[in-house]
Symmetry: C2
Subunit: 90 residues, 2 copies
DNA sequence: GTGCGCCAATACCGTTTGGGTATGGCGCCC
DNA sequence: GGGCGCCATACCCAAACGGTATTGGCGCAC
């Protein structure tokens, strides 16, 4: 699992639609589909229900969403925190 | 920044020595050195002081270490949590 | 002060990963 | 049934990553 995959997952969950999520992430749709499938296969869980109108979160996806957001928020905070440390040293 | 880089950083911080950390991570020393340098450059902060006997954490590294551990722990917990969800559904 | 040992850093190469384009298959709506 | 929107697949190319070989710096023993 990678941080990019978590970003992708959150975007798809929020958009409910792979195409829109791909546009938001500035990548094209096929690699996004692949990354989501890859994430599902390495977790051993289906995260989304595919429908002709888009995707919907399955229970495992509902569990993952808030945790993924927290990890991503921690990482973002961590980057900012370090920037402050370096600023203080200059 | 990637989760692998955080794993590498923690290993180097704990071993105080790139060669030993590389062995523990089951990779060779040069790629590890490169990844640490890459992490430092994208954070814009030096994390380690290089000495002829190994490496020591600089202040930014001291800040990063507990936060990196937390992110990695969250990710590990997240993987286990999802495995439980799928087990419950089988 | 010369040689040896341990360390991180660099150079170069092969493989793997990841994203892009093109296309297919499927359901829905008019 | 023709057109449209969706996700999935096939194929290709570029970037990222790890491995081996090697260099350079520094301390230590003698």
């Amino acid at each position: 699992m990678s941080l990019d995959q978590l970003h992708y997952f959150v975007a798809v969950a929020e958009e409910g639609n792979m195409g829109r999520a791909a546009r938001r992430l500035h990548i094209s749709q096929p690699p996004l589909t692949r990354q989501i499938r890859h994430l599902e296969s390495e977790l051993g869980v289906e995260l989304f229900l595919r429908t002709p109108r888009g995707v919907r979160l399955l229970p495992a996806g509902e569990v993952l969403l808030p945790r993924a957001r927290r990890v991503l928020a921690d990482v973002a905070a961590l980057e900012h925190g370090l920037r402050d440390v370096s600023d203080r040293r200059e």
